[in-house]
Symmetry: C2
Subunit: 92 residues, 2 copies
């Protein structure tokens, strides 16, 4: 199943940990605060549990969505997705 993680976290350290965890689980960055990838249900649950632990009592919001193939096929992308080595968006 395709998994989408979007987050809104002001603390740099926490935010970076969230991004690293998403990457470690095989998700790809699609926006500054959004990751997407195809992972199975048990891995997704593991990821959710890790994200929950990382956020802990810190301020912020993380949302995890699951998309079936049919839904994913309807995705629309406007503009460009571009990131540099530091995983920040490069606005060329």
């Amino acid at each position: 199943m395709i998994t989408l993680v979007i987050y809104d976290i002001t603390d740099d350290i926490v935010r970076n940990k969230i991004a690293k965890t998403c990457k470690r689980f095989g998700l790809s960055r699609i926006q500054k605060s959004a990751f997407l990838g195809d992972i199975n249900s048990s891995r997704r649950k593991e990821l959710i549990s890790k994200l929950r632990r990382i956020l802990g009592k810190n301020r912020g919001n993380i949302q995890i969505f699951v998309l079936c193939r049919a839904d994913f096929a309807l995705r629309e992308v406007i503009g460009y997705e571009e990131f540099n080595e530091n995983e920040e968006i490069v606005l060329v």
Copy 2:
């Protein structure tokens, strides 16, 4: 169908226009740069067309996802969603 709009836009004016358009189409803010709501297919297409026009040649990325009920039921939310009158997240 449930529609999720996520965006990554640095220009304040463009970003605000995107947010206002999402609101006008009946979507609710769930994160600083994410809106969610139940709109039909033709309204979604109209929204996409408007968002495309607003972004125009400006830098940024907007992604629109469609979620069926079964997928949406798997959504996980970690942390709080809180916004003030100005639609910015209130971190209490």
